[in-house]
Structures are given as structure tokens and as C-alpha cells.
Symmetry: C2
Subunit: 347 residues, 2 copies
């Protein structure tokens, strides 16, 4: 990673003629450099109750494979999140497998004998206490949410309106445009998550999380089924945003994504492994809520507050890349290309 030399070049500038000062001007920081320079206060600890540690069977070289998933906070998908913790605590996920890897779409794991065109045995019985959710829970009601915390919400909305405009570099003659979106009236970030909004009659009506790379969702059958959480998937290609509001999103992979994205693709319909390919199904040894692990085994993570100044600077720099490799800043960015920074920290 390029090192920021702001202090050094400021001193240098005093003793150089103008043209050389221009040449010595420090390079615009890359988005990753802006994140690296964020103050400690801009980072938010992720509760251990929101972390799932999924251990896959070791790879062909015998190397361990661990995936960490951050579960989604309220007001989104809390019924499914409840179920997922319940499945994990019942050790129900232990011994299931990755059954589907569809290129540029999803990697999906669950009981290989449940609703799988290539099933060879009987499905595993589900644990007791699972909630059943309605389709209206794919989105969160903004009205209800505003009632819960009207003051905080008003302050946030003012701030979001200001943050949203990702203007192109001032040196560019292109017209300014917003972080506009083909799938919603508005896209933004809320408590560390990418969200989209739809308006009716000039008022926001519903918010929902967006299907970006690495997001984790709940497999389901045809409507009115909404899925229990027994079957999960993660996005391994271009954001399939048409799934927004049609499937529950429950979290995102924050570590070990490569263990799910680089698996061999299935050659059956929808990328399921065929019966002949059943050896390619990656076994899932265990899935644990981090909070249930012994303290010294609990991983700890922080995300960069999406309400921080640093995040706004980072998003703007993604929309207008001025770091040395770039010659034409885009002047905008897709919500799924503004990845919320997450880092592992010592506990």
C-alpha cells in the first residue's frame, strides 16, 4: 500500500520553486488510505452475538477454512436472524454442506437432502422454536422505525441528504450527479449496511438491505414461503439486486469470502452439484455464534461507522478516484462498490 507523505511534502514545499511544488504535491489518497487514516473513534465494535463463525472442512492441501459472517441488526430481517442463531445453537448446521455454486451468482449451503434436485437421502428434521416470517418483512417500515426513534432519525436524514451527493472531481467538466440507482429511488448506508429506499407520494415508504457482493441471504421456495434460515447463500458475482425485496438478507461475509467464492462451480441446473459431483460438496463442520465460543477463541471485528466523516470522505473518493492510477474519475459510484470497511481487531 502506498504511504501517505503529507507531512514530508509540506516541509519540502517551502524550499522549492512553484513548478516543482506542483510536481511534489502529494498524490490524492486512495480510498484504502483514507480508511487506514481513520481515527479510532470512527470504528464501531461488532457485538459477538452478531458474529457467526463457520468452519468448513480443510482444503485439498489440508489448510483450515474459516468464514466469519456478520448478522444484520434491526430493523432488518430479525425473524430470520433469530432463527439462524437458533439453528447455530442447536448445532443444526454442523454436517451440512455447500450444495450449489453458480458462477456470477451465489454459493449456497444447507442440508444436501432438503429440496435439492440431487438429494440422495432424507432431510434433517428442523429444530423447535423457529419463527415464520411474512413477505412484508423483506423490507422495514420506515414509519414504524421513525416512531421508534424520531429525533435520531431526523438528524440522520439531514446528514444522509448531504452525504448522498457524490460529486465528480472539481477539475472535471462532467455534470454533477448523485449516487443514483437502477433499483430504488435512493440508496444509502445505515449503521454500516447498504440500504435502498422507495418513495410513494414524495414520502419514503420502506427501506431494505441491498444484495451486494458477499451479502448473505435466506434460500426459499416459491411464495408464500419465505425460508427459515436452514438454507443460506452468499453473493459471488455482480450484485443480483432484482432479489432485493424478494428474499431476506440476513448478513454479510466479513472474513474468508474466498473460501466460498473460489469453490468449483456446479454443473447442474442453477449451479447445484450433480449426483456425480457430490464429492465437490464442501462439508460444513460447524457454525457457532461467536458469543458462545470460549473468550480466547472469539474473533473481534469493527466496521467503519457509515455515519462518520471518514466514511463520507471514503465514499466520495471511491466516486472520484484521484489516486495516481486513475486518469478519469467516474463522478459516481454504485452502492455495491462502496464497500463498508470491516477489520479484525484484537479482543
Amino acid at each position: 500500500m502506498r504511504t501517505l507523505l503529507l507531512a514530508a511534502s509540506a516541509v519540502l514545499a517551502l524550499s522549492l520553486p512553484l513548478a516543482a511544488q506542483e510536481a511534489a504535491k502529494p498524490a490524492a489518497p486512495a480510498p484504502s488510505e483514507i480508511v487506514a487514516a481513520a481515527p479510532k473513534a470512527d470504528w464501531v465494535a461488532i457485538p459477538a452475538e452478531d458474529l457467526l463463525v463457520m468452519t468448513l472442512a480443510p482444503d485439498a492441501d489440508g489448510k483450515p477454512r474459516q468464514v466469519v459472517i456478520q448478522l444484520m441488526p434491526a430493523p432488518f430481517s430479525q425473524g430470520w436472524v433469530h432463527n439462524i442463531r437458533l439453528f447455530a445453537r442447536a448445532k443444526w448446521y454442523d454436517g451440512i454442506s455447500v450444495n450449489r455454486v453458480q458462477d456470477n451468482y451465489v454459493t449456497q449451503w444447507g442440508d444436501p437432502n432438503y429440496d435439492n434436485p440431487e438429494a440422495t437421502g432424507k432431510p434433517k428434521p428442523l429444530p423447535e422454536g423457529l419463527k415464520v416470517m411474512g413477505e412484508d418483512e423483506y423490507t422495514a417500515s420506515l414509519a414504524e422505525w421513525q416512531n421508534r426513534n424520531a429525533e435520531r432519525d431526523r438528524a440522520r436524514q439531514d446528514k444522509e441528504a448531504a452525504d448522498l451527493v457524490l460529486r465528480p472531481a472539481e477539475t472535471e467538466p462532467y455534470p454533477a450527479w448523485q449516487s443514483i440507482d437502477a433499483y430504488a429511488n435512493n440508496v444509502n448506508f445505515y449503521d454500516g449496511w447498504p440500504v435502498a429506499t422507495v418513495w410513494r407520494n414524495s414520502f419514503p415508504q420502506a427501506w431494505w438491505p441491498t444484495h451486494c457482493y458477499g451479502m448473505v441471504g435466506v434460500g426459499r421456495n416459491y411464495s408464500p414461503d419465505t425460508g427459515s434460515g436452514a438454507e443460506l447463500y452468499t453473493v459471488i458475482g455482480h450484485a443480483p439486486r432484482h432479489l432485493d425485496r424478494n428474499i431476506a438478507l440476513v448478513g454479510r461475509v466479513i472474513e474468508g469470502m474466498q473460501h466460498l467464492s473460489s469453490l468449483p462451480r456446479g454443473s447442474g441446473d442453477l449451479g447445484f452439484y450433480t449426483a456425480e459431483e457430490s464429492a465437490k460438496r464442501t462439508p460444513i463442520m460447524s457454525v457457532r455464534v461467536a458469543n458462545d465460543l470460549p473468550m480466547n477463541e472469539q474473533p473481534a471485528f469493527e466496521y467503519l461507522s457509515t455515519e462518520s466523516e471518514t466514511f463520507a470522505t471514503y465514499a466520495e473518493a471511491i466516486a472520484n478516484r484521484r489516486d495516481p492510477f486513475f486518469i478519469t474519475p467516474a463522478g459516481g459510484a454504485d452502492i455495491c462498490n462502496i464497500r463498508v470497511p470491516v477489520r479484525r481487531v484484537a479482543r
Copy 2:
């Protein structure tokens, strides 16, 4: 794949009461079904001169791995496309390797000893006759292009303006919106390729191809270098559209994408394989222009004309999924989620 039963249900409807007719109404076709029903005339043959056949070393199970790349037609990137055919015909690519696999970004191949932080030997000399391109060639001048074929262009522009509006399903109360884009003033398709446009003073100024999943581009060093074509990459994650107008796009993978997207990720900077991981570099045995192969070894492909009625119907169906799995059509679609259908055909 679900079978379309339009004819059968039309007969059935004559003998059923109204409620049952409703129930028997054929399901709205999925985008893939619209493509499958396209008339032969809507498919366009890809010239063998535009097809590159890249043979990787067999996989760990000894299975062959072949990737087919379609090179981009005029008016885009023709200097680099010239170079790539020259590299292939000089057999320069034979024996190079995949050196970089960065999750949610790119898989990149080239001479492992050229400009690679993990190089261990001397770079391979380049062939004679390579063109050197300027940065202005990352985009195509619309003015020049219009001069070349003003009449065809006017007809196309009228049609494109009509096609562009991807209206939401009529049953949805959401406002209509276009296939809008965070990276350009307009996005569309031209001769089978996704393209973006920027306007100044209400006139389109330049067009360029977009960095969607599977697109192939030319690695380069810092500006003013624009790359020769010796180093190529393909997109294996969410479209890195900020690279548009900053790197030359030269084609797309149309078969065998999984051989590049499912490779193990490199653990060095930018996803390069480290010296310790050099065994993970996938060898590239050969790259041939299909036209140079014996006739019986030449693969043949067609793409669905992006100027056809079928393509407009397909794009609209992607923006407004009404097939049985979906409960809330999006009302729009990202340019990179409207994948141009390509199929292999018998020669």
C-alpha cells in the same frame, strides 16, 4: 428450465370458468425463456477472427480447461485488439500464466516475470509490430462514428431512446424510472456490447464499453502507459466501473468463465500469488485466434442481436421479473445485469 406452455394453456382456457382461467394463466416467462424462444434471425454469428481460444493446463483432476474470449469490434479499442491478435499469432501467450486473482475484482494473466512483484526470472521479449495507443482511445468519439454512418446511427438512436425506458410492471405502484447509472449519463447496448455515454452541453460526446462481469481488459502501468495487450484480466466480481475510461476493454469471456473465476485467490498485494504460492499460477498452454485453427476445431458462437425486439423484451423482463419466483419486480436493472446472451452453435 421451466417449459413455456402457452399453446396448451390457450386451448385449456376455452373450457374453464373465469377463476380457473386466471389460475391456469401461463406464468410470465423468465428472461432465459424469452431468449430460448428468439427466432433464428435475431442471432448474429461472431466472426472466427473475433474469437480467442485460450487453453489452460488441465485441472487437478486432469480435466481440460478451455476459455473462449470474444474480441471487441470497432469503434472500440481496435489498437489493442490488433496487438492481441498479433501476440496470439506470434504464440507469445503460450507458456504465460495466471499471476493474480483478487477476490471480487479480477483474474489477470501474463508473463509472470513482467512487472510482477513476485517475479523470479527475466521478462519475455515482446513481438515486433505492436501499436501504441493513447489514452483518448479508451473512449470512442461519437462524432467520428456518426460521420461514418449517419443514417444507420440516427435510426439506432431513435430506437435506443425507446428501448432504454425499462418501465416497472404495470401492476406496481412505483414510479417509472429508466435504466439509470451511477457512472454515466446513459447506458445502452451497441452491436452486442454494453456501452455508456457521457454528454456535454446536451450532446453525446463519447462512448465506451463498460466493465461488467467477464469483460476482458488490458493491464497497464501508471499513465501515460496504456498497456500493450501482453497483460490481460477479466472481471470476477461486482463491476469495477471506476475502471471505465481508465483502461482499455478488449472483449469478454463467452465460455469457460468458471475456469478463471474459481481459481484460488492470491495472498500477495492486489491478489498476486506470492513467491511461496507460485505453484498456484495456472499455466496457459496456448492462445489461438479461432480463424487460425483447422476448420473442424474452430468453435462457433452467436450473440442475441441487441438491436432485436427479442433483446428489448428480454431486457424489460430482467428489469421487471414477473416469473413465478418473484413477488416484487425491481422496476429497473443495472446495465451489467442485462447480460448479452451468447450461445455455442455447430459450425
